[in-house]
Amino acid sequence: MNTALLAANLSYSYGDLKAVRGISFHLRPGEILGFLGPNGAGKSTTIKMLTGLLTPDTGSIHLLGNEMSRDNPEAQARIGVCFEEKNLYLNMTGRENLKFFSRLFGIKNFDTDALLRKVDLAHRADDRVSKYSKGMRQRLMMARAIINRPDVLFLDEPTEGLDPVSSRTIRNIIMEQAERGAAVLLTTHDMWEADELSDRVAFLNEGTLFAVDTPDNLKMKYGKRSVKVRLGSGSHVREETIELAAADAGDRIRELINSDNVMTIHTEEATLEDIFIEITGRGLDV
């Protein structure tokens, strides 16, 4: 199997608190894996282990075929990380931040302007980051994460609390990176975003991985196969739910459409959030 990242039986504890409990998963090149879970689920700890910032208590990590460990510059030269906290150099400009990190990666003739244009920051390139808005800082974080054209990209809540325009810019970059062939691990508790972006999603709660699958498979497995039809006749409005598994479901839907009373038809598939709650017994906002 062609894997960019292979994590096996990873565990990590902060003292007595078990943050991650023996999780295993893999990530293929060009794939986006949404890591979903509420605050404190162990998402950031997992990313720290995967990026070599923390040494797992148990388990192993293989990144692009090589064992990942702390102080592994060869492996870290091939990853990109966008942290949850905006850890940028505030007294430096956006351009200076990117140039500095390009030097750490040993990139020669780095085209800062092109990258700044990609994240829509070219017009503020020479302003200090301390003057940037939250969305601008996050876009700069994203630019920094892809500065070395990483083979594996780790994104920790990259769109949290952002305006729609900044969120859209970042989502476009994530898609673009995946299309380029980068494996993307995206942690979020925004189920809609995960659904839109992820090829597969992993449900993490209290350090335990409950499910890893494609959103469609999860919806098929846990959702309801039904449609809800809203019908209007004069001032009277009523709803009818049709189970798709029923033998006469097709006939009934055709019949309603032909009746000219149909106002709307909605599928009744479960959202990822519904499935998460069903599997873990816990909501995402906790």
Binding site: Q76, V81, F83, N87, Y89, R103, L104, G106
Partner: protein, 377 residues
């Protein structure tokens, strides 16, 4: 394994970044030049010479000779006492009052002093002393006046006051224990130069502490460690930055105050070692504090004890054991000796060795603690 050149390139990139950040920190960009200028001005306004001769003014002037006879002339030396006669008592008082060092002490005798002495009647003598003359000197002067009375009595009796005593005076041999600094006293300006250098070094330690704490507080260190930069590269870069900051300020100060007329090679080694110690202190302070105020607090806690040996050099006598055990003692002693007394390598070598050992210990501790702190982010 990465090549040495790629590691050096990473360290250089971090150092340049740190210097850029330092140059944009308003606090340090104001504090650094101000403190440097303050130190240079303080140095320049201090006296650059030491007068070892005490000038004694005597009124009336014809009695100056009697005072001179008190001085042991067997050696033909005045032993640092110069006697000047004044024709007017007010002139004498004014000369002492001016406090310009012209006359330190004045003795005004009544014009009928000798007659009073010879007739056995009580006379009154005025002694003028400038405010800078210590109390012991004033007591010695009172004894001097009494001696003068005896001498005058002998002179007027037609005898040499030193050879006609009823007792034989012993020969006096002054033995200086330690080095005799007579004739080559170190001016205050030169004595304070090493103290100012050490102060500058440790002020810059606080600047580095600020850079380290910001890296921790904003968690930018974490962003560095997911690149090919290692923790060791980051720590080395911080050490280099601290050393550059501390050394450059010290060099500027010494250039402005003529400090490199002394053994510049030893001075450079001492500044390098001092800058290393300052870097260690900066890293320790930056690691300990959680924010700017915390860093400043811990920085002060670390810096004050290190300043004590420098301050103690202003006072005579050997420092206490506790002071001699402080990490900066060897550095201070060597700097004082080389910068203040033009001492050479033979004097400085043991202190350099001690400072090297302290630098290794302090930098090692700073690396260990900062590494732990960075890796726990």
């Amino acid at each position: 394994m990465r090549s040495l050149s790629s590691r050096l390139a990473i360290i250089a990139a971090i150092v340049l970044k740190d210097l850029r950040e330092f140059s944009r920190d308003r606090l340090w960009m104001i504090l650094t030049p101000i403190s440097l200028v303050f130190m240079i001005v303080l140095f320049l306004i201090l006296p650059d010479t030491v007068s070892e001769t005490i000038k004694l003014g005597v009124y009336p002037s014809y009695l100056a000779e009697s005072f001179s006879m008190l001085i042991d002339r067997e050696t033909g030396e005045f032993q640092g006492l110069e006697i000047i006669g004044f024709a007017d008592e007010d002139q004498l008082a004014n000369a002492v009052l001016r406090g310009s060092g012209e006359i330190s002490i004045g003795v005004a005798l009544p014009v009928d002093f000798t007659e009073s002495l010879l007739s056995g009647s009580k006379s009154s003598v005025s002694v003028y002393v400038s405010e800078s003359v210590p109390q012991e000197m004033r007591s010695a002067l009172a004894s001097g006046v009494r001696e003068t009375a005896y001498a005058v009595q002998a002179v007027y009796a037609g005898r040499n006051p030193l050879s006609t005593l009823p007792v034989a005076l012993p020969h006096l041999h002054a033995r200086i224990l330690g080095e005799d600094m007579a004739g080559r006293q170190v001016p205050l300006r030169d004595r304070i130069r090493p103290i100012l250098v050490i102060m500058i070094l440790f002020i810059e330690a606080l600047a580095l502490a600020g850079l380290v704490s910001v890296e921790i507080e904003h968690r930018t260190a974490t962003a560095l460690l997911v690149t090919p930069a290692r923790t060791g590269d980051l720590l080395t870069a911080k050490c280099v930055t601290g050393t550059i900051l501390a050394m450059s300020q010290s060099y500027l100060f010494l250039l402005a105050t003529g400090g490199f007329v002394f053994n510049w090679l030893i001075v450079s080694v001492l500044i390098l070692l001092g800058a290393g110690m300052a870097s260690a202190v900066g890293m320790l302070s930056g690691t300990s504090g959680r924010d700017f105020m915390g860093t400043l607090f811990y920085g002060t806690i670390f810096v004050i004890p290190l300043m004590i040996p420098a301050l103690s050099t202003m006072f005579p006598g050997r420092p206490s054991v506790i002071i001699r055990l402080l990490p900066s003692y060897g550095l201070t002693e060597a700097m004082s000796g080389v910068l203040g007394e033009s001492m050479g390598l033979r004097f400085a070598a043991p202190h350099i060795m001690t400072t090297v050992l302290w630098d290794i210990f302090l930098l090692g501790s700073a690396f260990f603690l900062l590494r732990r702190r960075v890796e726990s982010l």
